[in-house]
């Protein structure tokens, strides 16, 4: 996205290191991440975007996808979110995730198995519109999970 590139230009401190900012990822049940980071990429509804320090204020809804967090110190973290909202303001970024799982907890074989089961369910639920809708939603989610896993690999 353009604003990601734009912020890169002036998000470096004098010594040339990327500036850090406060990032939080919360789910309704708990706080998953709360620390200083240099960059976060977020799967926005209208497209993925990166957030660096001093990003312009932005509110976006999320689609299922991969949130990549580059902390100021330590390893890069990757989370799968099933949806939610991102709120960027005052050098502060918060992701309100619907369901957030560390990508390391995913097991490819298990996910694929689940996807197959769901596709079977879809065949059964042919006549029931409500059920079909629900199963379709779950299939989209399962696919997004596998996709995220591919992306992370």
């Amino acid at each position: 996205m353009s604003d990601a590139a734009e912020t890169t230009a002036h998000s470096m401190t004098e010594d040339g290191n990327a500036a850090a900012f406060q990032f939080e990822m919360v789910s309704p049940e708990k706080i998953l991440v709360s620390e200083k980071v240099t960059m976060v990429t977020i799967p926005g509804e209208a497209g993925d975007f990166g957030v660096l320090a001093r990003h312009a204020p932005l509110l976006s809804s999320l689609r299922p996808g991969l949130v990549t967090v580059t902390p100021a110190e330590g390893e890069v973290m990757r989370f799968f979110v099933a949806g939610g909202f991102a709120d960027v303001c005052d050098n502060h970024c918060a992701v309100l995730a619907e369901q957030a799982t560390d990508i390391a907890e995913f097991d490819r074989a298990e996910l694929e198995e689940k996807l197959r089961n769901l596709q079977d369910d879809l065949a059964f639920a042919k006549d029931d519109t409500m059920k079909t809708l629900q199963v379709n939603r779950e299939i989209a989610l399962a696919k997004a999970r596998i996709e995220a896993l591919d992306l992370a690999a």
Binding site: V26, P28, E29, E45, L59, S61, D87, D90, L96
Partner: protein, 305 residues
Amino acid sequence: MPSLKEFRNRIASVKSTRKITSAMKMVAASKLRRAQMQAEQSQPYAKRMAAMLARLASNINIGAHLPVLIAGTGKADVHLLVVVTSDRGLCGGFNGSISRLARQKIRELRGEGKQVKLLCVGRKGRDALKREFADDIVHSFEGLGRKGLAFDEAAQVSQYILDLLDNGGFDVCTVLYNQFKSVIAQEPVAQQMIPLSVETPASEGAKEETPAETEEKSGPVAIYEFEPGEEEILASLLPRNLSVQIFRALLDSAAGEQAARMTAMDNATRNAGDMINSLTLRYNRARQAYITKELIEIISGAEAV
């Protein structure tokens, strides 16, 4: 006067009751700790959500077409009361106070000529209201939060409410639940969820002054970019907010239930202790009387010879 054997039996039975109540108290205490922790951990999300909603609302122009969740249906004829109670009893006045509040509310609304529908969350509330208002209960949820409350369960409840709203089932939705004040005090409250009570755009959706909100007010007003757009975000945020509010109510209620049970069981344990003391006293007295009586019999028998 009961016989000595009867006394012994009663003491034994009160002792085992005390054992049960003190075990229940211990279990409630540890469950309470867990519930409180969960309630605490859900705070940041709720706060951020409220702040976001306030920010969005202040950015939406008044003339815009507002979603039903804020604006309401334009009527206030049919009220939906969501009654949140526990599934299990033995927790003092916890469920009683909620069903009392519900009854009072129903009468009040009926008095104003409104129609009332009930959605019961928790078995105890349903059982209590079933006798009087069986025809008004549209649905009841049971067994929520058996293994710690999950957000999905709250989402399930809010989804049901939203579906009902879509079908024109009601105009105003109010949730009755026990607010967790402290371990010894739970206060039954009625919180209106739909339409969200709106006074000023900034206070929208956030009844309590959250720190984030006050920060928002005092800080310079930033120009926000919205993706995909204000109204789209608002439309997806509002149902989420409903789930969050309900999640919060359920968590409060769950913590309150354990706290109420802990207090009730503490009282019961203490009462059992008192009862054992007085029973033991009476038992000893009866035994002494029996011994004295036997002695008198022996002595007077010896004198007669």
